[in-house]
Symmetry: C2
Subunit: 341 residues, 2 copies
């Protein structure tokens, strides 16, 4: 049976919210079992609070925790008995383990993933690929959104291939792939993006629709937005910042006067529904693309309700054959060696 | 008396909305006069619809128009009798002309500005600097937001100097200047941004507060966000896209059922006030920084209500001494020659 490992100690609300959220995922999907990495006593104390099918849950005891203060590359070398490193090693060593979910340090998870799990053949740089909610009620995959601040054109072409494969796993047929630039015309962008445009245009097997702008991400006209990690991160966080600003302004408006408070009661449900559509947590965590197994990063501040979709996301990526689809895409494109860069 | 030239033929709604909006600015500020560039017959036909102080309005006839389809660098060379080029030349030739407002092609306005108006001594690259509304109800200046897709570290340091000077003109004391990056830590960013960080840290006379993220732009913790033109453009448009998405989703929610329509009546005013805060138009146009005179780009789709604040913005920048303040900042920093780059 497919095993999904969950880092019980990662994130601001570990282990309580992590254990609670992961257990809830057992009801969402039937075809997998959970293995928690972390302090056995702490994890079991949390587990004892809930009713669940004990045959589907296991705990792998470990003694260390990677913190946000740790230097990622150093932590994944030295904290070898941490819940994060032990989880990543299980991905490599146990063929039944398909995926790992952690709300811990993104940097450590990324560095550890490359070191302990390894890259799919041909992948130059793994990338972070969150789903951004869009007005169609679906999601736009943004890849890379921060793992690679410094990119070469070939990296971006690969981000497009990997994210398109992931979109396929999510059920999108012939996903539309756009390149995030500072204008839609072909000549827009700096040298990096103009060269990436040329590479993406030539790629077989993906449906490249040309340049897109920041405002196109949330309108849902593309399924994949390809980006260097620097500007992808800025796009993600700028949209997030605007969303936060709107929420704060709406609340201020509706709390302005007693009359407003009453009218707020009328609209609270509406705004709640809006917030639900725009809620990143609903879409799960950020998928790491390019590693030999499925790795999902849940937000550091994740509560149980964000952990559940992240675990479901890992299960679905495994059963949907994400790794195989990326491997095939690279083979189809004739990329079969992992270059030094 | 200070003259502000307005390109009567630029933008989607020229000349009707341009003339109407510019005339309204005469009531907002008393100490300037308007000169319209454009087809005299068309402009006068629009002018005849309104009552205004004729001693404060002039028309400079010209026969050509720069279109969105024109190649900017070519158009500003060949369309020498266009409303855009004639306006820019007046900036250079008439010392009473302090500023130019156009809703025409950004590229042409930029190329023409550099060619016909020229750069302030020391400025390597002029930049686009819009004000982004923030939750404090003020604005965060984002510079550059698209003129320079390919940047060097020294450009970014200059964008910070120029935008800080502009923030001063807008009344901000000791403006806080942040560098837009993919994380707040000093080591974040690609080589370009890490080197720009070092330059900004050493600059005398500006208050550099370090790296900021996309989400910080709209929270108002900085007055100036320094950015390369590529990722600045992506930040601007991603925030804009999220704002649009929220508006569209809110409208859908409130039109869902008859009951919703009624509750919408209760909240329409609130949402209108929110929209006003987030309304870029209210803040005027995008200021061009680094040219020897004030140039303001109003949105191509500008209606009269967006033209009015753009003209006011040009007047205020002139009377606030924007050009002098930038010149002084460069002299203070010891930059007195315009480098070839």
């Amino acid at each position: 049976m497919l095993k999904i490992v969950v880092d019980a100690m990662g994130g601001d609300n570990a282990p309580g919210e992590i254990v609670k959220g992961a257990l809830a995922a057992l009801d969402e999907r039937k075809d997998f079992m959970l293995v928690f990495t972390g302090d056995e006593n702490l994890v079991k104390a949390e587990l004892s609070k809930y009713k669940y099918d004990a045959s589907r849950v296991d705990v792998r005891h470990c003694t260390e925790v990677v913190n946000g203060d740790d230097i990622p590359t150093q932590a994944v070398r030295t904290k070898r008995d941490s819940s994060l490193v032990v989880g990543l090693k299980m991905l490599k060593e146990d063929e039944n383990v398909g995926g790992f979910v952690s709300a811990g340090s993104t940097g450590a998870l990324f560095a550890g993933g490359v070191m302990h799990v390894g890259r799919i053949k041909g992948v130059i740089r793994p990338a972070l690929c969150p789903g951004i909610p869009n007005v169609r009620g679906t999601q736009t995959l943004l890849c890379d959104c921060g793992a690679n601040a410094e990119c070469k054109p070939a990296f971006l072409a690969q981000f497009g291939m990997m994210a398109a494969a992931y979109a396929g796993v999510l059920g999108v047929e012939a996903p539309r792939v756009g390149l995030l630039s500072n204008g839609t015309e072909e000549h827009k962008g700096d040298t990096l993006h103009r060269e990436a445009f040329a590479l993406l245009s030539e790629l077989k097997g993906i449906r490249f629709v040309g340049n897109i702008e920041g405002r196109d991400i949330m309108c849902g006209d593309v399924d994949v937005a390809v980006s260097d990690g620097f500007s992808g991160n800025i796009a993600l966080k700028s949209a997030e910042g605007c969303g936060k600003a709107v929420k704060s302004l709406l609340e201020t408006e509706f709390r302005r006067s007693p009359g407003s408070k009453i009218s707020y009661l009328f609209v609270r449900k509406k705004i709640g529904r809006l917030a639900a559509i725009l809620d990143y947590a609903r879409l799960g965590g950020t998928m790491f693309l390019g590693l030999k197994k499925v790795v999902v990063k849940s937000h550091g501040a994740s509560m149980a309700k964000s952990i559940t979709p992240s675990v479901v996301q890992a299960v679905d990526a495994c059963s949907g054959g994400l790794i195989e689809k990326i491997t095939e895409a690279f083979a189809r494109a004739g990329v079969t060696e992992t270059p030094d860069e």
